[in-house]
């Protein structure tokens, strides 16, 4: 089952690095049959990265996310970001469907609670601990890769 993983954020902005750092862990572990995409923000062309994928995983940091992280399935949702260029992962799925004319693959969002997003800051102490917890979780779900088994592991957003 081909997996596309997006890890996005600015590693120079404290806990905003959590998504890219989780992606780096996956890269080091050499998950099979996986395409890894890192970027500062989600953008429209990321919809094309979903082409051919059986499953998508989005890795991000959040401010109001439950601690230490949440894991949930997401669905396509069209919408303009107000005063912003960044897209929500749901919008990327929506652009995939509108652009390519077919259903987006099942997609899940792992969102790690962050505390400090200041420019020039490193990971917060909480961010370090949650990164470890999230990575443990990712390794467990990777052992049973697939939408059905992942749905069984979802937490509340």
């Amino acid at each position: 089952m081909k997996l596309v993983v997006f890890g996005w954020g600015n590693v120079a902005r404290g806990d905003d690095a959590l998504g890219p750092l989780l992606l780096a862990h996956i890269a080091e572990s050499k998950w099979p049959d996986s395409i890894l995409i890192e970027d500062y923000q989600l953008q429209i062309e990321h919809a094309l990265d979903l082409e051919g994928a059986d499953l998508a995983l989005f890795l991000d940091a959040g401010r109001d996310t439950r601690k230490p992280f949440s894991f949930a399935e997401i669905s396509p949702r069209h919408g303009l970001p107000p005063l912003s260029h960044a897209l929500a992962p749901e919008s990327v799925l929506s652009i995939f469907e509108r652009t390519l004319g077919r259903r987006a693959p099942p997609a899940f969002l792992l969102c790690v609670r962050g505390e400090n997003f200041d420019l020039g800051a490193g990971l917060s102490a909480e961010g370090v601990a949650r990164l470890e917890a999230a990575w443990d979780f990712l390794q467990r779900i990777e052992t049973a890769r697939g939408p059905e088994s992942w749905r069984a592991r979802m937490t509340e957003m």
Partner: protein, 491 residues
Amino acid sequence: MASLEAAASPEKLRRIAIDPLTRVEGHGKVTLLLDAENKVHQVRLHIVEFRGFEAFIEGRPYWEVPVTVQRLCGICPVSHHLAAIKAMDAIAGYSHLTPTAEKLRRLMHYGQILQSHAVHFFHLASPDLLLGFDSEPTRRNIVGVAAEFPDLAKQGVLLRKFGQEVIRHTAGKRIHGVGAIPGGVNKALSEPERDSLRSEIDQMILWARDAVRMIARLHEVHPAFYSGFGAFRANMMGLVDRHGALDLYHGSLRARDADGGPIFDHIDYSTYEKVLTEEIKPWTYMKFPHIRALGPEAGWYRVGPLARIQICAYLPSELAEIERRDFLALGAGKPVHGALLYHWARMIEALHAAEVIRDLLDDPDIAGTELMAERGERQQEAVGVIEAPRGTLFHHYRVGEDDLVKFCRLIVSTTNNNQAMNEAIRAVASEYVDGRVLTEGLLNHIEVAIRAYDPCLSCATHAIGQMPLEVDLVDADGALVDRRRKNLGGA
């Protein structure tokens, strides 16, 4: 219009705040003060977070800066990279580049322009162009125009993707690439990479031209609205080459007044402080640049596509210049100033960028291997300026003998447009909000006016689960009457 910057008795007025709550891009907030009859007394675009870019840079080794500044902004990292490297060329003692190095940097830059303009127009702005029409016949006409361009969204994605590929091939990576280094570039463009890009560019040119044509057709549907929305007279500034033609990578500073008359011309950008200065206002962290000789009241200016294509003598690309001349005909010899005309100008620039990319790919130098120039005498201070997608971007540095940056000043495109964006929302508020019942649709007009400038209000942090846009309605006693929110997906 300027009277709307400060109300006479703000304590007696209702306050409406369009307020992004997150640290996401969009650290801006719009406030409108209305009286009991909904008459607008004050409109301001505030930047509510101090970004501290300069402090982030100072103290770092100068050679690290062109890479580090890419962390400042997830929207235009290439622009910061190239503005910084132009300054660091001089700091490191390089007064010129090899032809291959300069052309590769240009290729990277025009790739950035193309992808940035594409994403803005096709996915952020095109829905805005369908807003604000009350009459059903007009709406039907607009739907008809849209039907003539059924693949618009897909073309936007592919144009953006192509621009990103240009960046990847010149910078080495999709993000965190290096590309330019003091004195040149560190990656050649291989012939297979060149050929791959060349095989697609003619299609990109056609799509970009179609986008220009679509905007022109929309304008025909309702010319008064498209020309008049958010319109106000403004000075304009940007870079031009020695012939006065548009050059987005390098040139000298030119400023024109609202009627197109000269203010200054061919100013060496390293001396920008002689002609420009910045004002600080207590209600926002974003400064207000203006032309020193004219002062803050009369000297503020507009930058970006709408300014650039009107102050230059011509575009050195055939198809884009034809479209520019059609655009200029709107003003019958005078500059045009409507906010929505930014979209038209932006896509003329996208077409121009695509043509420049094609010409660069056809230039034998582009696949050359002489990447580094000869080093001369090192400098302690230097300025790098580039025309970023949103407008003129200044990077100014002083570096000590220990190679560490001692001083850094960045005047980013959105800051250059600060007063212009404030004027735009005041124009819109006066026309669409003043004296009328407040609705979400009317408030959306404010958002449309700001988005026309394509502001980059932050850097690449973001946070799922926040509410990037909040609108508060507060009565004259300060009590919250109503609140509306939009999330990151715009719902």
